[in-house]
């Protein structure tokens, strides 16, 4: 038989076997006793079968198989018709219990879930057509859905604001004004009677030449979803961005819609004269009275500073963090000098961000399953993320090259002692190949020590990898003299291990399996904590005792 076919059959049976074993080991519960839907449970008593599903009036189901292979817990797409929302990875039961429509298909296979570009005034959203209808209705806008745009970025870029201008209304010889788009102004004209309406594109209502009852300098304000501080005219219409230098002596600035010209290049935070705030430079519009910002020279609104104050960050980098900056922090609660201190028992990694003036910590996955990695982007602007701690394969590496393969794993190479053992009578240390090709005693251990639940079985096993114990089979105590008489060796110095090594006689020798003791003593204090929260150590709170490597000799067979 062809080798390929044989391999295929083998893989097929393997998959079947895995499925069978999985099915044998766990049940798919439609609902669990703790209230979750569609969960795989090893303990069948956790499947809820006593109560009825109100939708079907039948008891909840269970089957000794994986949920993917059941009809009742198969994942599909839940469609909320009213909202136009499609949610994948949803079981039928959770969808239908709230009157959703469930389909055994991916969202991209359902016409009602096809995304397109929904234009909402001067904004755009990449959503389904039903969602577009729902949003347009909520915001009182005409539904404009373009299914020819199939890319979110193109969609957002296609959102253009209609040209704005002064919509002047004249009634009974009184001229007033609203700042509107041309379309809004036309709509106003269509809905009004006995009123003369003119649209002046690009003009502000405060323009002198429009001769309306709206004049300049009506205060300042913030605008929703915009960052800048805006002038208001005396009718309450928006004008240009607040610029104190142009407030009184620049008629043009109160006549035409213009781009702001004032700026310090960094968002004008806490500027008393300029309202050209920029969110990504760390400033946004707020009422100055609600903050500690200095009062602007005109109006009640200013560009507040979104940067943060943080003592630890300042101690580490000599400055305060900026808005948007993300950096690493650890539960050690102190500036650590030795990076290994961030891996003390109980220490967790955090990424901390400065956002809109607030410090927001976010823990990496517990047990240092992910660890914090900090880099500089754009100068010394910090950015940190929690990255996967790929420590699991370290111990098994048999060459230094594989051990230090940063593409595949996060490990370090420690020479002097090998935690890998040969499968022989004496459990001797396995020699690993270093970069020069030499076979030496060495260990490949995690670069970022994971946590270990050392009080539970799994933790004992994890830490146990570093356990080094040998029963030294040596003959010691008596030796035979040339005359065949027994002579006692004095128990003078060192450990029995050392004495035995020193003696190197027929009657006392260290058997294979014992380490190179001096190198072992140097290597172990590094190897042991690298495997996790193992050994004697000060914990992250600073309590406990520092680990001092000590040997513990248990007497084995003393042959006399």
């Amino acid at each position: 038989m062809n080798k390929r076919i044989l391999t295929f059959i083998l893989i097929f049976f393997l998959i079947l076997l895995i499925g069978f074993v999985h099915a044998q080991n766990s049940y798919c519960c439609e609902k669990t006793t703790y209230g979750a839907y569609c969960q795989q449970e090893v303990d069948v008593s956790k499947c809820s079968t006593a109560i009825k599903n109100p939708n079907t009036n039948e008891t909840y189901q269970k089957a000794p198989t994986s949920c993917e292979s059941t009809s009742y817990c198969k994942l599909g797409t839940c469609v909320n018709v009213d909202e136009g929302l499609c949610l994948e990875n949803t079981p039928q039961i959770t969808c239908e219990k709230e009157d959703g429509n469930w389909y055994d298909k991916d969202a991209n296979e359902l016409p009602q879930c096809q995304l397109g570009c929904c234009l909402l005034g001067d904004q755009a959203a990449f959503v389904t057509q039903n969602r577009c209808k729902s949003l347009s209705s909520l915001y009182g806008l005409e539904t404009i859905f373009r299914n020819d745009i199939v890319n979110e970025f193109v969609c957002i870029a296609s959102a253009t604001s209609d040209a704005k201008g002064a919509c002047v209304t004249e009634k009974d010889y009184e001229r007033t004004c609203n700042l509107l788009t041309k379309r809004e102004c036309q709509a106003l004209e269509e809905s009004s009677t006995d009123v003369i309406i003119e649209f002046h594109e690009g003009y502000l209502c405060s323009a002198d030449e429009l001769a309306t009852n709206c004049g300049p300098r009506g205060g300042t304000t913030c605008v929703e979803s915009e960052d800048e501080v805006y002038f208001l005219d005396t009718c309450g219409n928006l004008a240009n961005v607040y610029d104190y230098s142009r407030m009184s002596e620049d008629d043009d600035y109160w006549t035409y819609i213009q781009e702001p010209t004032c700026s310090d290049g960094f968002g004008s935070a806490e500027s008393r004269e300029c309202g050209n705030c920029e969110y990504y430079f760390g400033s946004t519009c707020k009422a100055y009275r609600t903050t500690n910002a200095p009062a602007p020279r005109y109006g009640d609104y200013t560009c507040i500073d979104l940067d943060c104050e943080d003592r630890d960050f300042r101690a580490k980098y000599g400055r305060d963090p900026q808005h948007g900056e993300v950096w690493c922090s650890y539960t050690t609660n102190k500036i650590v000098r030795d990076p290994l201190e961030n891996y003390l028992p109980g220490a967790e990694h955090y990424k901390v961000k400065c956002w809109e003036g607030e410090i927001i910590p976010e823990a990496c996955d517990p047990g240092r399953a992910t660890i914090c990695n900090e880099t500089n982007i754009i100068g010394d602007f910090k950015y940190a993320s929690c990255v996967l701690n790929r420590w699991q394969q370290c111990i098994d590496q048999e060459t230094q090259e594989d051990c230090l393969d940063a593409e595949s794993r996060d490990c370090v190479w420690i020479e002097g002692y090998s935690v890998l053992k040969n499968d022989d009578e004496y459990n001797t240390e396995k020699k690993l190949e270093n970069l020069n090709g030499a076979e030496i005693r060495a260990s490949c251990v995690p670069k970022y020590p994971p946590a270990a639940l050392f009080w539970e079985e799994i933790g004992v096993l994890q830490c146990g990898i570093a356990n080094a114990g040998w029963v030294l089979h040596y003959k010691y105590g008596l030796r035979y003299t040339a005359e065949g008489l027994e002579e006692r060796i004095e128990d003078s110095d060192d450990t029995p291990f050392k004495k035995c090594e020193k003696a190197k006689s027929e009657n006392c020798h260290v058997l294979p399996g014992a380490p190179d003791y001096d190198k072992f003593k140097v290597a172990m204090p590094k190897v042991c904590p690298s495997l996790g929260d193992c050994g004697k150590s000060i914990n992250y709170m600073g309590s406990g005792e520092k680990g001092i490597f000590s040997d513990y000799v248990e007497y084995g067979d003393i042959e006399s």
């Binding site: 909320n80 929302l85 990875n89």
Partner: protein, 250 residues
């Protein structure tokens, strides 16, 4: 008691009467409302009667992941945060537990305020009957909607007031300023992301929605709790999820 003493007592009583009169004049509306319900128009009456109940319900729902009595939850600072997406397995993405979050919250509000709605209509009827009206109420439906910026409960009860003239009210709208709609939309998106990829970067949402704070708190057994806060209104929505959990020591 001498005449002088009597005069003093009369003066004191007089001053006390004047003081009480001044107080009644100054605080008349409040005092009146203590004695009997304010005679407002029916819409205002229903708004006043129901808005506290709706507000309290919304607060509970916001802190508990959208359910008044969560069935499957994570206990965090004495709050029961419902799992909106959950798997008990490690390394696997979660199974969506509440795909129709907005509708679910709307129906939870309706269910919770339903008894109070009846009480409010009874109070309304009593209040107008006390004022000499003939009152007729035809019971209608209740629909609650989460909308941008507010939560609107519409009662299609028909109220007829007759006192000489007849006034007819076809429906009542109780409006609560609350932007739960936005927070629920964001929660939906987070659930979608968690179910598909297992992890969410809160910065993505905070960059897009200025003034939004997304806190993501990883718990030891692999759960994550999310706290969404609208910083302008201080409205919150918090919920739990367990997706692609990494067990400790594996």
């Amino acid at each position: 008691m001498g005449k002088r003493g009597q005069v003093t007592i009369f003066i004191i009583i007089g001053i006390a009467i004047i003081a009480i009169g001044v107080l009644i004049y100054a605080f008349y509306p409040q005092i009146q409302s203590l004695i009997k319900p304010e005679s407002k128009n029916p819409a205002a009456f229903m708004q006043t009667c129901l808005e506290d109940e709706i507000e309290d319900t919304v607060e509970i729902l916001s802190l508990q992941g959208g359910s008044v009595a969560p069935e499957h939850y994570l206990l965090y600072q004495d709050e029961k945060l419902e799992y909106l997406c959950y798997t008990n397995e490690n390394y696997r993405t979660c199974v969506v537990q509440q795909p129709m979050l907005k509708s679910h919250i709307e129906s939870e509000i309706e269910r919770e305020i339903s008894p109070v709605v009846n009480t409010c209509f009874e109070d309304l009827k009593e209040s107008y009957e006390d004022q000499g009206y003939d009152v007729d109420i035809e019971v209608g439906d209740m629909v609650t909607e989460l909308l941008p910026e507010n939560i609107v409960t519409t009662l299609t009860h028909k109220l007829t007031l007759t006192k000489g003239d007849t006034e007819i009210y076809e429906s009542f709208r109780i409006v609560l300023d609350n932007n739960l709609y936005k927070l629920v939309s964001i929660a939906n998106s987070i659930i979608d992301w968690e179910a598909s990829y297992g992890d969410v970067d809160p910065s993505t949402y905070m960059s897009y929605y200025h003034g939004l704070k997304v806190e993501k708190l990883n718990q030891e057994e692999g759960s994550t709790l999310y706290i969404l806060t609208d910083k302008d209104t201080e409205n919150k929505f918090q919920f739990a999820s367990r997706s692609v959990a990494w067990p400790i020591g594996y």
